[in-house]
Point group: C2
Chain length 216, copies 2
């Protein structure tokens, strides 16, 4: 059994993984700098559905890079996504990652309103008045609240990465976001997750830095 | 669009999700308390492949519960999995979650040995001499090193959750672990991830606590 392990140097593992993904994508092409995002989602999940389900608004990758270059911070709905986002790469431009899900005021507001903590954490972020990138990897209610806040003119996201996962209102919440004029990156359908939200952010950062994680 | 959102109370979202998963599993049954683990992996990923790819060693769920009840701590290879594991539930029994991936001594050892930081973090854990549960959600090299250490008699894991994801040595590293007598839970094939490793731990904790996340 042990002999079946390929001898690959640590620095070459990711390169080789991307070569395998590229080969299995069998010549498919992706527009406007979205290729690395698609491939990184597949790399993170080993799920080739991401070659088909990822939806991008017009020029979203350029807009995302511009926002990050301008020092934008990221708000996410899970501590897992916060853990997964490359904070060193983001920090080079001045941005931070916030997750308000465990904040006491958010828990108290959720108890009072009967809404989810994810909803309340979006309201908290919106009330801060700073233009954020939103990276949602768990709760459709976060996307629904962002939609409502946008409708009310209370938030104007620089970008929404809308990647909640699951079975209740997930599909619908993504469609809602895609019906607006906000810049978005959304894996349509049920799939997504904290890992997907984080890796989409990282793919953009790695393209910007043109660093060792940046492969075609 | 907004009208297509179902009105579901926050406390009911997870229950309803599990009902949908159960319905779509179409009467399939799973043995020996593995059902909730399978369903929680599907809940976390919206990927029904987990109904087919999860492999369990004999009585592994009972053994995992016994280990946790005995105060076992968990070693993981990613800070995302560490963020995702329910540390309050685990802490009730005395266990903690460790991730040594960002430790300076691990980085230094990896630089010297030419092995991955994941490998070195497994060696560090083994050298601590405490019997751990290992929850691997990223690096096949962590599983390979655990295998080598087991062969050398240098580690005796209470349980290995072997859920690295990807394309280089992932399939083989899982097969290696399943060739041993260690208690294991492994999604065979390429799929897995930090989210999957964390949710397998959480599924076991929720069964033990019989808490609000515990659904059939």
């Amino acid at each position: 059994m042990r002999t079946q392990i390929e001898n690959v140097q640590p620095k070459d593992i990711e390169t080789k993984s991307f070569e395998i993904i590229t080969r299995e994508l069998n010549g498919r092409t992706f527009e406007n700098n979205t290729e690395l995002i698609v491939k990184r989602c597949i790399h993170t999940s080993a799920d080739f559905d991401y070659a088909d389900n990822l939806c991008f608004s017009d020029d979203v990758v350029a807009k995302a890079m511009e926002a990050i270059r301008g020092g934008a911070s990221i708000v996410t709905d899970t501590n897992m996504a916060k853990a997964g986002i490359n904070k060193v790469s983001l920090g080079k431009y001045g941005g931070q990652v916030h997750c308000f899900m465990s904040d006491e005021d958010v828990a108290a507001a959720a108890k009072e309103s009967g809404m989810t903590r994810a909803s309340e954490s979006m309201k908290k972020a919106a009330a801060m008045g700073e233009p954020f990138i939103y990276a949602i990897g768990n709760a459709p209610t976060a996307l629904i609240t962002l939609y409502d806040l946008m409708e009310e003119g209370k938030v104007d996201p620089l970008l929404i990465i809308g990647a909640p996962v699951g079975f209740v209102n997930v599909v619908q919440s993504k469609e809602l976001i895609m019906s607006t004029s906000v810049p978005y990156i959304v894996p349509k359908g049920r799939k997504g997750g904290s890992n997907i939200a984080a890796c989409i952010v990282n793919a953009i950062l790695y393209m910007m830095n043109n660093d060792r994680h940046y492969w075609k």
